[in-house]
């Protein structure tokens, strides 16, 4: 924080930090989703997320509060993923090359950043799922069951379960999108 800002109000630095922490907090889910989308095979998504948080904190003075936070944070996360991947490229095969990572990251930065609102809508959307889909989603995400385990449990094929879950996710994504749009009309 600059001295001039503090001269205006002693608490600006603290207030600014508080606001910044809220921004970082609210960005966690989105950042994690972004990093996971760029590192689909990596076990250390959380490590990159953590490193992202550290860098975000160190760079808090560089953030222009007149601008949106999420694209800025996503940019930092994407860069850290690239650094991470460059190390990995030398040692092992990695799923996505840098070009694709850049494409995914660029699009992710343009997406909705209000995950709080999306989560709220999601819970309503879940209630609207057909009972069969809802039960499978529950088993998969609340119980943590694998698709194979669910198939064995309900006596259906793995492919059928996978397809039903996929449709449920697609339906939920559409429902959330519509719900968020509705909230802003």
């Amino acid at each position: 924080m600059s001295g001039s800002k503090s001269e205006e109000n002693f608490s600006l630095e603290r207030d600014g930090n508080e606001h910044y922490v809220v921004l970082v907090t609210e960005a966690q889910l989105g950042l994690r989703a972004l990093i996971r989308s760029l590192l689909p095979r990596e076990a250390d998504v959380n490590d990159v997320l953590q490193e992202t948080n550290m860098v975000l904190w160190r760079k808090r003075g560089e953030f222009d509060q007149a601008k949106r936070f999420m694209p800025w944070a996503c940019g930092i996360a994407a860069n850290l993923v690239k650094v991470h991947l460059r190390k990995q490229y030398k040692q092992q095969w990695v799923p996505f090359d840098e070009e694709l990572v850049s494409q995914i990251a660029a699009q992710a930065q343009l997406r909705s950043e209000n995950f709080d609102e999306r989560l709220e809508v999601l819970n309503e959307c879940i209630k609207k799922l057909p009972e069969g889909q809802r039960r499978l989603v529950d088993l998969r995400y609340s119980e943590g069951a694998s698709v194979t385990a669910i198939a064995n449990l309900v006596g259906r094929t793995v492919d059928a379960i996978s397809m039903t879950l996929y449709r449920a996710r697609q339906g939920l994504a559409k429902c959330v999108q519509q719900g968020v749009e509705g909230n802003h009309e």
């Binding site: 924080m1 600059s2 001295g3 001039s4 800002k5 503090s6 002693f10 630095e13 603290r14 930090n17 508080e18 922490v21 907090t25 609210e26 966690q28 889910l29 989105g30 994690r32 989703a33 996971r36 989308s37 689909p40 076990a43 250390d44 959380n46 490590d47 953590q50 550290m54 190390k87 095969w93 799923p95 996505f96 694709l100 494409q103 995914i104 699009q107 997406r111 995950f115 709080d116 999306r118 989560l119 709220e120 999601l122 819970n123 879940i126 209630k127 809802r134 989603v137 529950d138 998969r140 995400y141 609340s142 698709v147 996978s162 397809m163 879950l165 996929y166 996710r169 994504a173 959330v176």
Partner: protein, 550 residues
């Protein structure tokens, strides 16, 4: 690739298929195709939202209030199958709430009506006559909620604020408890003691705003629009109404502010005009009784991230304590640690956030405060410890950047590395560096102690240790550096070194814990201020982690 084939690959990935073939094809299918990338992001985000996990421990009082409040506000959005799980945002909020809990004195406002928002407790009174609306007589231990207006007609009342500041009101006086870190003085005399834990505590009068930077001070507000402020210890930042920059007042200084005047005028500093505020021991005792729920016994495992250092990474684990309370409570900030956060007693260990003066020139706080031993509670040896994500190699370096206030020759603190982190362990025969008998020391065994340099009370230092194996002697060896300077990557000669007892190399245990311990003869007023600590494969990396990670 057809859309059906792409969907099939994406479906497989979401179901857990991470095979090279699937991911390679998926990647090829997305490259240059914005629609497919959008679908992919939709599904990953949805999978992430559905996978949210709230399996996090309760936090401090404020944090628990937040959780309660959060539940109440979001009740309508919980489906039956996601009750208690659900929202990653909440998880993230909890991870970072520690920071907010300290930085934002207005935090608890949202919890009103859900859980009582206690900001202060009456801990002492002398011939006190209260003017209570309902005629209630306040007695010892009486809690006061946020926003409470207190009017002492006569006598003295002492309050312990939940933010660890202490206040003495000398009647006639009236105040409003704005928050645990902020009190509005409407009239009368109020003296305050704000220990390290309460840095940033604020007193507001009709004419001025006082921000504590670690001190003992007092203010009086009379009926003629005069506000006096006296500093008896440490320093405060004070700003008159309408003043831009503010002024730093240090011990022995005093100012008088007159209504509508921009700045204050000098007056004589006079401690005899005010009564003594609560003592540190009183405040810490209250903090212990009103335990914020953050003591080690209440901590449960948090989300694990199983950090494994990359093969070329020289740093193994490190933590910067300058960022705020959150660095202690969650796994969010520390690198290279296991799934549990730091195990501490919050009555005696706290991260102190950085507070800036009105002018912006002075800063206070920005470290982990580890207090000395509490004599009143001999079972409470002040310990701080955390498990590492991986067992340490046979050869490693560890470092700490800190300062010790209140140092005497009986004081002791150790940064230790051990195979376990049991609460009752003494950690005397494991790699250790620290201060002992007025000297810096390192040891592997209580009978093999290396000594170097003499610490200065209150002065910042960097200590580094190197644990390794001496092939010739067939013994483990520890080297110690005090304020080392690495020139061009060359490791300087250690200031001292020592060997451990003879032992076959294969018997070297796997060290998995790091911690701090204060000594038996330390005082509760002793303060070890830790800015950072680290473990690394090289000395430069260990030092970089504590010196540069600011």
């Amino acid at each position: 690739m057809s859309d059906e084939e792409f969907d099939s690959l994406l479906r497989g990935v979401l179901d857990g298929d991470r095979s090279e073939q699937t991911l390679r094809f998926l990647g090829e299918g997305m490259k240059g195709d914005a629609d497919r990338i959008a679908s992919y992001l939709d599904m990953v985000e949805m999978d992430e939202m559905l996978s949210c996990d709230l399996n996090l421990p309760g936090k401090g009082r404020v944090a628990r209030d937040r959780v309660i409040d959060f539940s109440r506000n979001k009740k309508s959005r919980r489906s039956s199958m996601f009750t208690g799980a659900g929202l990653m945002l909440a998880a993230c909020m909890i991870l970072l709430l520690g920071v907010l809990a300290v930085m934002n004195p207005d935090d608890g406002k949202e919890a009103e009506g859900v859980a009582k928002d206690i900001v202060a407790v009456l801990i002492d009174s002398e011939d006190c006559i209260w003017q209570a609306n309902d005629g209630e007589v306040y007695s010892f231990g009486r809690p006061f909620e946020r926003g409470a207006a207190l009017w002492v007609k006569s006598g003295i009342a002492r309050l312990a604020m939940n933010g660890n500041a202490g206040l003495a009101l000398e009647g006639p006086a009236s105040v409003e408890l704005v928050s645990e870190q902020e009190v509005r003085v409407l009239h009368g005399k109020v003296s305050a003691y704000a220990p390290e834990e309460a840095i940033g505590f604020k007193l507001i009068t009709p004419e001025i705003e006082i921000v504590d930077l670690g001190t003992r001070f007092a203010t009086s507000v009379d009926g003629q629009g005069h506000t006096d402020v006296h500093v008896f210890e440490g320093e405060i930042s004070v700003r008159g109404k309408g003043e831009k920059g503010g002024e730093l007042l240090v011990e022995g200084q005093a100012r008088r502010f007159v209504a509508n005047a921009v700045a204050g005028s000098k007056i004589k500093n006079d401690p005899s005009l005010f009564v003594e505020p609560p003592a540190l021991e009183q405040l810490l005792a209250i903090a212990g009784k009103n335990d914020l729920g953050l003591s080690s016994g209440n901590l449960k495992p948090k989300a694990s991230f199983d950090y494994k250092p990359a093969s070329g990474e020289e740093k193994i684990a490190w933590q910067d304590f300058t960022l705020g309370q959150g660095v202690l409570d969650g796994t969010l900030w520390g690198i290279g640690f296991g799934k549990n956060p730091w195990m501490i007693d919050h009555a005696f260990t706290r991260v102190i956030p950085t507070v800036t003066s009105h002018s912006g020139k002075e800063k206070a706080g920005g470290y982990l405060l580890v207090r000395g031993r509490a004599k009143a509670e001999p079972s409470v040896a002040n310990r701080v410890r955390r498990q590492l994500a991986v067992g340490l190699p046979d050869d490693y370096y560890f470092a700490i950047r800190a300062r010790y206030r209140g140092l005497d020759d009986k004081d002791f603190f150790a940064l230790w590395i051990d195979v376990h982190g049991r609460e009752d362990a003494t950690h005397t025969n494991v790699p250790t560096i620290g201060i002992r008998e007025g000297r810096y020391f390192a040891r592997l065994h209580r009978e093999h102690v290396a000594i170097a340099g003499r610490p200065v009370d209150g002065e910042e230092f960097v200590l580094a240790g190197h644990y390794g194996w001496d092939e010739k002697l067939g013994k483990a060896r520890i080297a110690l550096w005090v304020n080392p300077v690495v020139d061009g990557g060359n490791e300087p000669e250690p200031d001292a070194s020592s060997v451990g007892p003879a032992r076959a190399k294969g018997e070297v245990p796997e060290f998995r814990y790091v911690g701090l311990r204060m000594g038996l003869y330390t005082e509760v007023s002793d303060e070890l201020l830790v800015y950072g600590l680290s473990i690394a494969k090289t000395l430069p990396a260990a030092l970089e982690a504590v010196v540069n990670e600011k």
